[in-house]
């Protein structure tokens, strides 16, 4: 059923997929950075204090961006 995946003509596409993957990760890192900057810009309009969940949101955004950058570096090294 899935024999088409193993077709020999696909062997040439390996490097293309790898380069495409690296570009995708880089672009997605930019998306994560935009998300973080959006949170920071929103902080200038509305300020949440205490247990409003903003600390969790900020922490998640920073960790997400950091992990994504780590993934990009790891992809360059491993892939």
């Amino acid at each position: 059923m899935l024999d088409f995946i193993q077709h020999p003509s696909l062997s040439n596409l390996g490097p293309v997929f790898k380069i495409g993957f690296l570009i995708l990760v880089a672009l997605y890192s930019i998306f994560a950075f935009m998300l973080l900057s959006k949170i920071r810009s929103f902080d200038r309009i509305v300020t949440f204090h205490g247990r409003s969940g903003i600390a969790f949101v900020r922490a998640f955004a920073y960790v997400f961006l950091a992990l994504l950058l780590f993934l990009f570096v790891a992809s360059v090294v491993i892939v």
């Binding site: 024999d3 990760v25 409003s52 969790f56 992990l67």
Partner: protein
Amino acid sequence: MPDIFKQSAQNPTNPAKSENSPKPTSQIQPAPKVKTPISPPPQSTTNQNPLAIFTTFIKNPSGVSYAGQDPDEEIALFLRRDFGTNTPWILSTIVLIIIPLLIRFIFRATNTSFPYFQPNFIRMFTVFYYFVVAGFAFSNFLTWFFTIGMVTNKRALDIDFVDISSIKFATADLSDIIDAKYTQNGFGQSFFDYGDVDLIVQTPKEKLSFEKVPRPSEVSNVIDDLTGIKRNA
């Protein structure tokens, strides 16, 4: 008309005529620079309720302030879209999480493999895929979290976190609000008690609406009460 003679007697404008007032100095001293916060949260006299991460409807919230808030301005109502409106993206996220597991199951069941990709590449791609899913869920969560409506004792604010590239911020003074109407469309909105609250503002071009907020009738009543108090004042 203010009594200017009485005022001048109480607050003498000419310090030279007053015996107790300090002598005027020839040099004009600059005002000391005091670093003040941009928008300090006002001290409220009413009972306040703490704002939590999943709060969608709260009266007199504590823990939130906005840029340009007056010192005597108190937030009477804080609104977010009803949590039930998050169901579509939560379900989509669950499906997206399951898809790779399903593909893996199919490949194992049919005994098929990717011969031209190294296992490391497939692993990295899978990790990246889950990052994309996490980003999708997080951006949707942020859209819900930051799309808020607030009603203070002076104005109504509608802040829309439209997508990743734009924030829409609209305000209207309570004295400009003529009426607050609400609509509940469909079975879901009636059953879970949420709907749209439209604020009719005197300026024709301006429109303020709190979309899919919980307890729209109560929201409408609170706004009507506040606008009534403002008009009477």
